[in-house]
């Protein structure tokens, strides 16, 4: 695989076969993309939007929670007819989201755009159309970075993930009141952790003589998401973004909303952006994409995407959180 330097020019457009003394051509219109991790953290519910921080006057926002009310606060027994009622205290706390900033850009020389055979590489508009996917990949990475800081762990730093850990998680969900009230918890695993789990299931007493049951339980379906894994009341997704630290996969499980993200809507910039930038404002992502206008004197066209987003774990008293760790 060749790397196209920046800006992508016609002279560095991938003539490696020609350099080897071979004549070559490209199959027009059959530009294929490399295999990639396509897990969408928003569609799968891995992270949920908490707040738009535009105009809030801060880059950090606290998300408050409250306890000792409603179902978690019973009436006190009154012993006498004229007993007075003592006012109850409340328990409050917060989690906090800090807004980060991320950027991505590509540049293409005008000569490359003019001379390249159409359909053999991506044009600037095509590159721009793929920016939201890169944004989602960034959001997924930040979710995994945050999930890796969960300290209550299931599993071992020296052993592969096994079905025992899956049952331990199921037990934790059952024994934690309210853990599933907002929906099925989601387990995020590294693909290799999922392989470890399948290996364990193969020798499980329940499945060793029942291939059909094993295939069903091991999530033999395609894709990156396994709904209601083994019927235990949680979903599983796999992504290579799961943090590996000290030779240990730092997978994690959270109940829905336990990982929240914040954005800052960008449409307020419209008054300041030059028309030539053809800016696209994606407020729901906190993302602005615009053409760069400064490279014209060197015959370079380009775009930049800037995203204002942050991810944070909710409080453990509001959301179930478990690390799902296993050895690399």
């Amino acid at each position: 695989m060749a790397t196209l330097a920046t800006p992508q020019g016609f002279s560095n457009g991938g003539n490696d076969l020609a350099a080897a003394g071979l004549t070559q051509s490209y199959l027009v219109g059959e530009l294929e993309t490399a295999m990639m991790d396509t897990l969408d953290p928003v569609v799968t519910g891995m992270v949920r939007l908490k707040i738009d921080m535009a105009g809030k006057g801060s880059d950090t926002l606290r998300v408050p929670y409250i306890d000792d009310v409603g179902f978690s606060r019973r009436f006190s027994s009154l012993a006498t007819e004229n007993a007075s009622i003592t006012a109850s205290a409340l328990t409050t706390g917060y989690s906090a989201i800090t807004l980060g900033m991320y950027g991505l850009g590509h540049t293409v020389t005008q000569r490359q755009r003019i001379l390249t055979q159409p359909g053999t590489t991506l044009t600037l508009p095509q590159l721009i159309s793929m920016v939201p996917m890169s944004y989602l990949a960034t959001l997924r990475y930040l979710a995994c970075v945050s999930g890796a800081t969960i300290s209550t762990n299931i599993g071992s730093a020296t052993a592969a993930l096994s079905e025992d850990e899956i049952y331990t998680l199921a037990a934790a969900i059952i024994s934690t009141s309210g853990a599933s009230d907002k929906g099925r918890p989601l387990v995020t695993l590294h693909p290799e952790q999922l392989n470890q789990l399948r290996t364990s299931l193969r020798s499980s007493p329940a499945f060793v003589q029942n291939l059909q049951a094993y295939l069903q339980a091991a999530g033999a379906a395609d894709g990156s998401m396994f709904m209601n894994f083994m019927g235990l009341g949680f979903d599983v997704v796999k992504t290579e973004d799961v943090v590996i630290d000290t030779g240990v996969y730092q997978g994690f499980a959270v109940s829905p909303g336990g990982l929240g993200y914040a954005v800052a809507s960008v449409s307020g910039l419209a008054a300041d952006m030059p028309a030539a930038a053809e800016a696209i404002y994606l407020d729901q992502y906190g993302l602005i994409i615009y053409r760069t206008v400064s490279g014209l004197d060197t015959a370079v066209n380009g775009y930049q995407g800037r995203a204002h987003l942050g991810v944070a774990l909710g409080d453990t008293s509001v959301f179930l959180q478990r690390g799902m760790i296993s050895v690399q």
Binding site: M1, A2, T3, A96, T98, G100, A148, T158, Q209
Partner: protein
């Protein structure tokens, strides 16, 4: 790049330049990775085999120990409280809120500048803290990958990504030393007891469920569960120790 002391949960905390890891003369073909801090939450623990050694004047008898388990706070803005800096702002400001969050959680943040005792470093590793910077190249782009001294790299020929292994033995010795020297508090026994209870229960479950397995497989599964439970029962919790020669 020193943090103000008022922000440091455990003594003075600073984040100096990481030690550059001499992985090879040329850049290693590996994905880049951000820098990080290690924080030790009160409820993080693990069971690891620690080698017999004298480290920084502390005698470690060796064997399985219950040790604290760190979390990695990655330097990625917008995650874990890492802030985006304004122009000219001190880099330490990016970490300010991170440290506050960790302090509120009663976690102990260990500075990357705290030297790792030489006995706890893999052979050939440079002296320094736990944060190392390796020069990498990934998809044609040069970059940095921040690693620990226990992350060992084997470069492969051509465009093949390098292979990484982890020296868990020396890493375990470092954790043991962190506790022995009082940098990180020992794991609270209540957490250990709960884990031991889980492992005992697992033995009973495996014995009950494995009846339908072929004899050899049944024996192996029961034996594995028993071995894990017995090891957990016998292992001591790493504790603060006396240094040789100190009164």
């Amino acid at each position: 790049m020193a943090f103000p002391d008022s922000q440091a949960p455990s003594g003075a905390l600073s984040l100096g330049a990481p030690v550059h890891a001499p992985l090879s003369v040329q850049r290693v073909n590996a994905a880049p990775g951000a820098s990080f801090l290690y924080s030790f939450p009160a409820d993080g623990f693990q069971l690891l085999d620690v080698p017999k050694a004298t480290v920084d004047g502390y005698d470690c008898p060796g064997g399985l120990y219950w040790l604290p388990q760190q979390v990695r706070i990655v330097n990625a803005s917008g995650a874990n409280g890492v802030r985006v800096l304004s122009e000219g702002e001190s880099p330490a400001e990016a970490w300010r809120y991170v440290l506050q969050i960790q302090r509120e959680k009663s976690s102990v943040v260990i500075s990357p500048d705290l030297p790792v005792p030489s006995e706890a470093l893999p052979s050939g590793a440079q002296p320094g803290g736990y944060l190392r910077e390796a020069a990498v190249v990934w998809r044609g782009q040069p970059g940095s990958r921040f690693i620990t001294p226990w992350d060992l790299c084997t470069p492969l020929p051509g465009d093949l990504p390098a292979k990484w292994t982890f020296d868990r033995s020396k890493y375990a010795l470092w954790l043991w030393w962190l506790v022995a020297s009082g940098q990180v508090p020992p794991v609270h026994p209540a957490f250990i007891e709960a884990r031991k209870g889980d492992l005992r229960q697992r033995v009973a479950e495996v014995e009950a469920r494995a009846n339908m397995l072929p004899e050899e497989q049944r024996k192996r599964k029961v034996e594995e569960a028993k071995t894990a439970a017995e090891a957990a029962e016998k292992a001591p919790v790493a504790a603060k120790a006396a240094r040789k020669g100190s009164k």
